[in-house]
Subunit: 191 residues, 2 copies
C-alpha cells in the first residue's frame, strides 16, 4: 500500500543493527487515520472470506486489530502475554520467541473466545521471523477454527517468517513488504 | 451510558473477592461496536475541548483509545510498561501500583509524543485506585501539556481513585459507575 510505504520512508528510523523503528505512527504513537486506511484495504482483500473474529497479540497489534475490526463488524480477540505457564484447561497457550527482545514467552487465549466454526483473520503490525503469527495460527487451529489469512502492516521479507508460513498454504497480505534495510542504502520495498 | 451498563449486567462475571471480569467484551475479547458507541459518547462530552492527543496505557486501554481517536481525528499515544527503570533523557516515566496483580511497574512515554501545547484526553478501560490515571496525568503535565480530562469505561466508585482525582480538579467522564459489587447482591450502578 503506497500510503504506508511512503509513511515508512518519511518517518521510519533505522537504528543500529538495521532495526526499523516506526513508533511515531504504528506502535507507540498511532496514526489512527493511516491505520483505518490499512483496515479498509484488508477489508477489501478479505471481505468475501466470511471473517467472524479478528485475532491479534498484545500490545502493538491491538489498536490495528480494533480499527480493522470496525471495518469488518466483528469482535477482536487479543492473545495475552504471560510469563507463567498456564496449564489450566480454560486457555489455549502457545510459545513466542522474540528475537528483538531475546526471550521466550507464552501467549494465552481463553477457549471460549475462539471456537469451532470461527473464521479467523489474524492482524499484526510486524512479520519478521514469524513466531507470533505461528503461535496465533496454532491457537486458532487447536480451537478447531479456520485461519482465513493474516493481514500484516510491515513484513520484513528478508527474514524467513512470511515465506515459511506462505509455503504451508496460508494467505498473508502484507501492506508494506521490505526487501532490505541498511543505514547506507535506506529502506527498499519489494515491487 | 445505558448500553454499557446493560452489557456489564448481561456479560460481566463476579469473581471471588468481588472482582468484576468483563473480558468477553472489553479486555480480552473486544466488542468494537460497543466501544465505538463509547467513543462517540466521549466525543460528544469532550468535542469542544480542542483535544490534540489521546493518551492511554498498554495493554487493555489501546483498543478503546484507538476507536475513540477515530472519532476525534487525533493520534493515540500509549504508555508502555517497563520492568526496568528508564532514566534516559528521552522518556517520561511514572510509577503505577497494580492492586489486582500486587506489583509496581513503570510506564514510559517518549518525550517527543506528548509536547507542550498538546491538549490530552486520557482514555482507559477501568478506574479503581487511580494509580494508572495519576501516572498518565503526571506524564502529561511533566511534558507541559494540558489534561482536558479522562474518559473511563468502568469506574469502581467504591474505590478512592476517581473521587481523589476529581477533588484535584480533573474532569472524569466514566460511562459506567459501579457503586457496589458482591456475589450476593450483584452489580449496582450509581444513579
Amino acid at each position: 500500500m503506497k500510503l504506508l510505504e511512503e509513511r515508512i520512508l518519511k518517518d521510519g528510523k533505522i537504528l543500529p543493527g538495521d532495526v526499523l523503528k516506526v513508533d511515531s505512527f504504528l506502535n507507540h504513537q498511532i496514526d489512527v487515520s493511516l491505520i483505518n486506511e490499512c483496515g479498509k484495504e484488508w477489508y477489501r482483500l478479505f471481505e468475501n472470506e466470511g471473517v467472524t473474529k479478528i485475532l491479534t497479540i498484545e500490545a502493538s497489534g491491538i489498536g490495528i486489530a480494533c480499527i480493522t475490526a470496525l471495518n469488518f463488524g466483528v469482535p477482536v480477540v487479543y492473545a495475552k502475554k504471560s510469563k507463567s505457564h498456564n496449564i489450566a484447561g480454560d486457555c489455549y497457550s502457545s510459545k513466542v520467541v522474540s528475537y528483538t527482545h531475546g526471550h521466550t514467552y507464552d501467549v494465552l487465549v481463553y477457549k471460549k473466545y475462539i471456537e469451532k466454526g470461527d473464521r479467523v483473520l489474524i492482524i499484526d503490525d510486524f512479520l519478521a521471523n514469524g513466531s507470533a503469527l505461528k503461535a496465533l495460527i496454532a491457537i486458532t487451529e487447536r480451537a478447531g477454527a479456520t485461519v482465513v489469512g493474516a493481514g500484516i502492516a510491515v513484513e520484513k521479507v528478508f527474514q524467513e517468517g512470511g515465506n515459511d508460513i506462505r509455503a504451508r498454504g496460508y494467505r498473508i497480505e502484507s501492506l508494506a513488504k521490505i526487501s532490505s534495510i541498511s543505514a547506507e542504502n535506506g529502506i527498499k520495498f519489494c515491487d
